[in-house]
Amino acid sequence: MQKENVRLHVNGRVYELEIEPNRLLLEVLRQDLGLTGTKRGCDDSSCGACTVLVDGEPQMSCLMLTVSYQEPEITTIEGVADGCELDALQHGFCVEGGAQCGYCTPGIILTAKNLLARNPRPSNQEINEALSGNLCRCTGYTQILASVRKAIELLRKEEPQEVER
């Protein structure tokens, strides 16, 4: 198959590659860019483990032809922390037990990141709706919910507080 030149914007970096046009973003991220934090759990978009953010929107990279995503900014789990500083969601998942085996965690954190960007004060129902396409076989979701709530709490503390005069 004829290869094509591709420019990808991933986690604030630009990558130039030569790849077959039928290659999925999931494979290219994992195999060509070494970004193995994006996981493959199924082969048919049924588990959400391969979720990445495309201009901030969660999408399953196992369904995305790489050549079609040269314009948008792609964020993988490796791009979530600010250097060594964990994101509030990452911190929440550590301290509230949201990551047991950790395999669904990248996809869930990215999906939740999009939710909190859209809706900083979601209800439990709204969190569950947002995460309903991400399968976890370990936790029963109770501690995942607690982890997201913890992140919300941390983000609220960081916000500038209005001071009564």
Binding site: R30, F93, Q100, C101, Y103, R137, Y141
Partner: protein, 770 residues
Amino acid sequence: MSSFPQYSVIGARIPMVDSVDKVTGAGKYADDLTLPGMLVGKILHSPHPHARIRSIDASAAEALPGVKAVVIGRETPVKYGILPVGHDETIFAVDKVRYIGDNVAGVAATNEVIAEAALRLIRVDYETLPAHLDPEQSMRAEDHLIHQGRPHNIEREYHHHFGNLEEGFEAADYIREDRFDCAEVTHAALEPHSTLAKFDPDGKLTVWSSTQVPYYLMKTLASTLQMAEEDVRVIKPLIGGGFGGKSEVIPLELAAAVLARKAGAPVKVTYTREEVFYAHRGRPRQIVELKTGITRQGKLTAVEARIIQDGGAYCGYGVVTILYSGQLLNAMYDIPNVKFDGYRVLTNKPACGAMRGHGTVNTRFAFEQQLNRIAAVLGIDPVEIRRRNFLKPPCRTVNDLRVLSYGYPECIEKVVDRSGWKHKYGRLPYGKGIGIGGSHYVSGAANPIIRSMMPHTTVNVAIDRGGTVTIFSGAAEIGQGSDTMQVQIVAAELGRPMEQVRIIAADTGRTPVDLGSYSSRVTFMAGNAALAAAREAKRRIVAAAAEKLACSPDDLVMKNGGVYYRTDRHLALSFEDAVRLAVVRDGTLQTSGTYTTPPDSQGGKFKGAGVGPSPAYSYSAQVAEVTVDSETGQVSVDRIIAAHDCGKALNPLAVEGQVQGSVWMGLGQALQEEMIWQNGRLMNPGLLEYRSASTLESPPIETILVESNDPEGPFGAKEAGEGSLAATIPAITHAIYDAVGVWIDTLPVTPEKVLKALEEKRKSHELTSL
């Protein structure tokens, strides 16, 4: 009053020590690993449930550019299996295939596209044979048997009789018989199995694999590849969930190694999701014919169980699974007379194996459901009927299981209180219901899979001159918190902060032997070994300090970052200074701890007595509340309260996570999960079709941790990762009865079954009113 500064980490909510790697994507799972020159391995699977292989022609595949190795069965004829009594598998089929998906050949090629093309070029000439697909028919078969030496396709049968069954039933005022049928379910861990194998020029093999049992994998690689065990090293990277599905050797692990050897290059094999479903080793379909005798007052007098398990085409853990299903009828309630007839039956489907709650879950569902049915008939409160049959530990059951700690009564009381049971059971409006169930599980099998005098586990602790502690352990972290538990125990015992303790685990070339993460053994066994190693290190540090301070070691006590005088509680030496003294004295500071089960916990002498005994049992009681839509048959679970006796919650965050995960898996088995077979083909080999509950279908799970402080557990701890699963199922089916008045004895409880039961109930009412 002076007191020591407290920074004991036992009982604190501790994040997993590997959690940062997991939330940042930095952690490496098997499929994340690459090596220079690595090839892709693929496996050719059988399209037939049962067929003789007449011939295989792989020449076209071998000739395809990019193909570096093709391996077929006659090159790999050594039989293996996880149990010494069940060596009935070969890496690739030699003469017969026994299920759709059976492994026929392996290919290693420079990329996946070429590997898959090569598979299509392998010509296999099959002579198809009649397939045995239903266990009750299979066990009557005379011809075309699945394995030689297994008449009637019965892998193994057991017949146990404890006490006097006849007398037991004579003493009963009420005897009830029911048949339960529980569908086959599978682990569906989110990480598909993956193995990377590499040979060094000196002929030594290194394998990175998604395994719960690195030690058994090392042994099986050595036996099937006919190598010395010391030339095989198995390294377990992060594991994306196991639940038992990675607790025996899976064909791809061996395929990767034989392909790597033939190709002369590293080979990685990663299953597709469909291959994961066919690799299976999950919970078998189980038919339970259960007969229970009870007095008018609700005291159990006798239990008789006839159990058939649809084991699939190979033994796997099957002999253990069938024994658990009978042996653990006991150790929950006081049952004086018990009979068990168990049949593990071979069929032409993927082999079943160990899955969370191994062997106990479907029997427990049947027993608890029948107990709830009996309570309803006799008009005894279902909580009260349990109270009347509690064990009175310390005790030995009729089948010689030793029970020391027993938090089940407290679990019952806690869930009854929290749920408002008294105001709800039988009193909720039609369509709403509440139900109860109980369960238990072993804290490690008292007997190893391969009988030997070796300890079940050994943990080494090394402390460097700066005071940093390193644990070397063979125990396999699979997401359950094995590493964190050991770090916590060593940190607590040495009085060190967690950050000063690190762990190197599950590398058979670098760490001592641990038998693996199965039978919920790690906290009890590796935890005790880690504790013993830390205690020995402490003893040596104190001895060195005493020498320096010219006092007796008994005058000193070590905790919270230092060595203190016992009498006035003054700091004598900092931890670092004391460690330096010990290193100077002994040259190095390294200690070992081991764990072996006490002989009196290892069970009786009868055939099959080795499976079921454990040094300690966990207990769970649960209350579920449901809503049943009588128009659609849809059941939604509104709330589950789960109380789990874990002995001592070393890390409540982790224990709660384990209990919630178990409950959720039980919920899946109760209502949705089911492997659907048609002519030996799986109809739902995908994560959408094999339905498990999403966030929207998953109720809040409230956990209550009960601490019975087991006398032999590390700091009193017992298992937490499996024992809660089984109780969820009868609690939900009981709640369905409470909601709409029907008992469903087959799993999963689909809307169709609920509607059918409601229809039958309506018809029988119409008949009685005629």
